[in-house]
């Protein structure tokens, strides 16, 4: 079949809301963009374990320790689903991980910020997972089957993440003055980076148009960002915390919040590698991978020995 008619068939299929599966024909650029997006999503989950992993040993109670541990384990699982989904596009996991370690592949900018206090656990669960949910729910309906199905599973698990985060913030906000200050300080530091998670403004977003045509992206960055603000501001008000934006104002006509300008310089600078924790995050991942080599080697050697023993027994 001619390339032009293959492309037409593909476009019609996608426009009709049907799912593209691994063995279906697809334009090389569709495949490439999905490899980039899904692998970076996977990297984000794995790197995302680090900021919260930082507080597991210092959780204020056994219950909160178990909960945080469960959340971080979930993120590992999410990374695994996504690496698996990405592999269906004909890439090797080792190559994806190499690209993360050598800086070629990116991950969500938010994970380049440090977690300074226990309240950061609350802010992250509430805001960062909240923003992630906003992004991921539409992805459950994206055109690529394995990615969409992975997202369904992820979203089911993500809602506990957000609830535990908000519960931490609520508990602190209703606590002592020192605890309330802690919560407010965490909100002050995580608010703007969370808004940046939705990516550049629509007019500056390079991949958006093609991604929307291919139904990989269903809503624009600005649209999702607006939804997030409208949803989250009342949540902050409910627990007596103040969103750190002096320009935040409810527009009575539209029922939506107007909010201040995002410092895009900061966003692009962090993406480029100059955020507070970029180097540390990648170095930690690389070290974990290198230090874990003996485990992979041992598992493979053990499997080989078992196989040989089995063969010998059968002979």
């Amino acid at each position: 079949m001619e390339e032009a008619s293959l492309i037409e068939r593909f476009d019609n299929y996608v426009a009709a809301n049907k799912k593209i599966e691994p063995k279906d024909w697809m334009p090389e650029s569709y495949r490439k963009t999905l490899v980039r997006q899904i692998s970076q999503h996977a990297h984000s989950e794995i790197v995302g374990m680090l900021p919260e992993g930082n507080w597991i040993t210092r959780a204020p109670s056994l219950k909160r320790k178990a909960i945080l541990l469960a959340k971080v384990q979930d993120e590992a699982g999410h990374g695994l689903y996504l690496y698996s989904a990405c592999e269906t596009l004909g890439v090797k996991r080792d190559d994806l991980i190499n690209d993360l370690h050598n800086g070629k592949a990116k991950y969500s900018s938010i994970f380049n910020y440090p977690t300074l206090t226990w309240a950061d656990m609350g802010a992250i669960g509430w805001l960062v997972d909240g923003a992630a949910i906003m992004n991921q729910v539409p992805l459950c309906k994206c055109s690529y089957g394995p990615y969409a199905r992975a997202m369904v599973r992820v979203c089911k698990e993500e809602s506990f993440h957000q609830r535990q985060g908000f519960e931490i913030m609520m508990t602190l906000a209703n606590g002592t003055d020192a605890q309330k200050k802690l919560a407010q300080d965490a909100l002050n530091r995580w608010w703007w980076p969370s808004l940046m998670m939705f990516g550049p403004s629509d007019k500056d977003s390079t991949h958006s148009e093609q991604s929307m045509k291919w139904r990989i992206k269903l809503f624009s960055n600005d649209e999702l960002r607006q939804r997030f603000v409208d949803m989250t501001v009342p949540q902050a008000e409910m627990i007596g915390l103040t969103v750190p934006d002096k320009d935040l104002k409810m527009d009575v006509e539209t029922g939506k919040y107007q909010f201040g300008d995002i410092q895009w310089e900061e966003f692009f600078n962090v993406i480029k590698g100059n955020g507070p924790c970029n180097k540390e995050r990648v170095a930690t991942r690389k070290k974990a991978y290198d230090d874990g080599k003996w485990v992979r080697d041992a598992a493979a050697a053990h499997a080989k020995k078992k196989q040989a023993r089995k063969k010998a027994k059968a002979a």
Partner: protein
């Protein structure tokens, strides 16, 4: 209940695959039994043959019970 496909994973051998599958895919009591199979053992129908393979069943409505118009008074059928 029947086994349903939940995903894939990497493992050194079949035993580790079961162990890893338990760790990744049953955190919320999703099941009581796991089957793991190496992906190279799977034979799959070809997506490009989808229409030819499955469409023939589409117009054979007489395979469904609702095709048969029988008296309302008829019981136990």
């Amino acid at each position: 209940m029947s086994h349903k496909h939940v995903g894939s994973l990497h493992a050194a051998d079949a035993e580790m695959a079961i162990s890893n599958a338990r760790d990744v895919y049953t955190r919320r009591q999703e099941g009581v039994s796991i089957w793991a199979v190496p992906s190279e053992s799977i034979t799959a129908s070809s997506p490009s043959d989808k229409e030819a393979f499955f469409d023939p069943a589409e117009d054979k409505v007489y395979r469904h019970p609702t095709f048969y118009d029988l008296p309302d008074e008829l019981e136990h059928m």
